[in-house]
């Protein structure tokens, strides 16, 4: 009889033995794989006798979203509350970045640059482009700053809050190296702290500098990795944020140590409620907008995030999956369907389970800088797939909102939710299903 060892199961034993053999720890892409309380642990209370539903596929339900109303003369106006998160050219191929921009423009939403700066392809394909100001400042320059529709000062990322970033040498090709002013082929380190400020008082002055350079025209977002959410949101607001972006621990990454991915931060479900409560404490609900990201996959996730107080959500990994990440096929040189299962196998993985963005060997041409692999992604077809996905999500949100009796998705509220587990009820501060009990709040 074999007995299961819960402290040292086979996977842990294999990990220890690999470290001992190779002298290294795991670095990988994607986000947390462990099961944490999530939006699936919430249910929407749609209408019956006590609420009056709107007619599905008939009565209008608004999805329009405006971000950055606090200070900017030109806030970001979106048709749907679903945006594309910052992902770098370098982590992603130029074609993938172009596809994200084209898709976002097609459905009337925004996309976001990433570490490494703004490429012309991305700017030209994106109707509304958020320009990130990251600690590394790779490729950051005033000319591109003035081309931005919003600026996002990045303090952290859900997959690795406080951890900075890395782009392994196999993805630092000549163009990426040039944009980042680094030698080609080195393991590139992205700083974890900004070079010219250290605290919220400094950040306030930094944001004023950005406003001066952009003529006080565009909103300034502050993005945080979800850890001490209440304090961090309040400090971001004190520093002058027009929009606070909170990235939960399920947020993706192109390459990060697994110790970060699985063991730091708090789940998105917990973060969204903490963040919206922080804004409410300040009396700034609706004046400072909240964008939430980290493992958003469906219209149901979006509806629940909005009900908990988000003004919009942001997608990273899900948008890559929509364009073909983890697909068993890609596009061949003549447009034919290419079976790439062997390429996954050579990396020790398979379609549906791949998290090997860090290798630069992406079989579907998304997370790579290899020309022959990049060619496997048709940006036009990829953009269509992402746009289809975004539209389907937006329709799901309106479907659920109508069923809750709302004519605007932004009118979803915590009262529309219950939780399936005690943990989710405590984090989201909504009642456990079938009870009026909110752990930590009611008895």
């Amino acid at each position: 009889m074999y007995e299961t060892n819960h402290t040292f199961p086979p996977g842990v034993i294999a990990d220890i033995q690999e470290r001992a053999s190779e002298g290294r720890y795991v670095i990988r892409g994607m986000g947390a794989r462990r099961r944490v309380p999530m939006f699936d642990d919430l249910l929407l209370l749609t209408a019956s006798a006590s609420r009056y539903p709107l007619e599905g596929y008939r009565e209008r339900c608004e999805t329009g979203t405006v971000l950055g109303t606090r200070n900017a003369s030109e806030p970001v106006v979106l048709e749907i509350p679903i945006t594309i998160a910052g992902m770098s050219f370098g982590a992603l191929s130029a074609g993938a970045k172009e596809a994200l921009g084209r898709a976002a423009s097609e459905v009337g939403t925004s996309t976001t640059t990433g570490d490494g700066g703004m490429t012309p392809e991305e700017r030209n394909s994106s109707e509304t482009l958020v320009y990130q100001c990251l600690p590394s400042r790779y490729g950051f320059n005033p000319a591109d700053l003035r081309k931005a529709d919003a600026v996002e000062v990045v303090l952290g990322q859900g997959a690795k809050p406080g951890g900075g970033g890395m782009l392994l040498g196999q993805k630092v090709g000549s163009r990426v190296a040039s944009l980042r002013t680094l030698p080609e082929g080195i393991d590139q380190r992205s700083a974890s702290r900004h070079p010219d400020w250290t605290g919220p008082d400094d950040l306030r002055i930094k944001i004023e500098e950005i406003r001066e350079v952009t003529g006080h025209r565009v909103p300034v977002y502050i993005k945080i990795g979800a850890t001490r959410v209440d304090h961090d949101v309040k400090l971001a607001v004190a520093a002058g944020a027009d929009v606070v972006v909170v990235d939960g621990m399920q947020g993706g990454t192109a390459a990060t140590q697994e110790a970060f991915i699985e063991h730091t931060g708090v789940p998105t479900l917990a973060a969204v409620r903490q963040a919206s409560d922080a804004l409410a404490d300040l009396g700034l609900t609706g004046e400072v907008q909240l964008v939430v990201s980290g493992g958003i996959r469906s219209g149901a996730d979006v509806a629940k995030a909005l009900a908990l107080g988000a003004d919009a959500v942001s997608l990273g990994v899900a948008s890559l999956i929509a364009m073909g990440c983890n697909s068993p096929t890609a596009t061949g040189p003549d447009g034919e369907v290419l079976d790439v299962a062997d390429d996954y196998r050579r990396m020790g993985t398979r379609p549906g389970d791949c998290h090997h963005c860090h290798t630069g060997l992406c079989p579907v041409g998304i997370a790579t800088q290899e020309a022959d692999l990049e060619a496997r992604l048709d940006p036009g077809a990829a953009a269509t797939r992402i746009a289809n996905y975004l539209r389907s999500m937006a329709m799901e949100v309106t479907m659920l909102a109508r069923a809750c009796g709302k004519s605007d998705v932004h009118r979803l509220e915590p009262e529309d939710l219950v939780a399936l587990t005690i943990e989710a009820a405590a984090m989201a501060r909504v009642p456990l299903a079938g009870t009026s009990w909110i752990p930590g709040t009611t008895r």
Partner: protein, 257 residues
């Protein structure tokens, strides 16, 4: 706001409806150019006026009183003098302009400079020339911590001493220190090069002293001439560059991280 014109305002006024808060001075007793009194003119208005200057134009900011974000984001080859202390990010995110601070400067002076010059005729606080992609930042006095951090191709010249972690993660460009350098000089350098005329308290991780080549001496000589740093002997400086041992992550380097 009351109209406040410093100098003889005879040129085009760029001001509020109530009067020319910002004027151009052309009197013989004053250098020609725009003069803005920051005791009266709001920062935003002043920066807008500076950004509207054409190539070759001159401007002076009076009573800066340590205000932040002075002369940021300029794009023309104008000359701006700040008559007193400047706060954070003076001249930051700039292109082509020539900015002089007649006094000390706060954090991040010349940060993310793309081209042009920022000269501080005093001491400067932390993160001077942070992430500067191009151009020249000159500090005639001393600089505090992390000067030249994340430098991306710009040039930083310091007449006096530099605080700890000067050149931290500097990627490209040149740093010249006319005095002594503090702890951790050149920590985690990439391809930037640092020259020190005085002593080095300690080197940072992966930084090393290298032999001085003729081209180094020539480079320092040119900088000394441009900056007016006569106290520096170009042939008698120490060259610090990256040992390039940490360009690839490896657990056997854990003592260095």
């Amino acid at each position: 706001m009351d109209a406040t014109v410093t100098g003889a305002a005879t040129g085009t006024a760029v001001g509020t409806a109530t009067g020319p808060a910002i004027g151009t001075a052309t009197g013989a007793e004053q250098p020609p150019g725009l003069r803005l009194d920051l005791a009266e003119v709001p920062l935003r208005e002043a920066n807008d006026a500076l950004r509207a200057l054409p190539d070759g134009a001159r401007a002076e900011l009076l009573n800066p009183a340590g205000r932040h974000n002075l002369a940021v984001g300029l794009t023309t080859a104008c000359e701006v003098t700040i008559a007193g202390p400047a706060g954070y990010y003076c001249g930051g995110l700039g292109e082509r302009a020539s900015i002089t601070v007649d006094g000390p400067a706060g954090w991040g002076v010349g940060e993310n400079l793309m081209s042009g010059t920022v000269r501080v005729r005093g001491d400067a606080s932390q993160s001077v020339a942070a992430s500067a992609h191009g151009g020249l930042v000159v500090v005639e006095g001393q600089v505090s911590l992390r000067a030249g951090i994340s430098l991306k191709g710009g040039t930083l010249a310091v007449g006096g001493d530099a605080g700890a972690f000067c050149g931290f993660m500097a990627q490209a460009g040149t740093i010249l220190i006319g005095g002594n350098a503090g702890d951790g000089l050149g920590d985690s350098l990439y391809e930037a090069v640092i020259y020190v005329a005085g002593t080095v308290r300690s080197l940072g991780t992966d930084a090393r002293v290298e032999d001085l080549a003729d081209e180094d001496v020539e480079r320092v000589k040119q900088l000394v001439e441009v900056c007016g740093f006569d106290h520096i002997d170009p042939g008698n400086v120490t060259r610090i560059a990256s040992a390039r041992q940490l360009y690839h992550f490896a657990t056997h380097n854990h003592d260095a991280y």
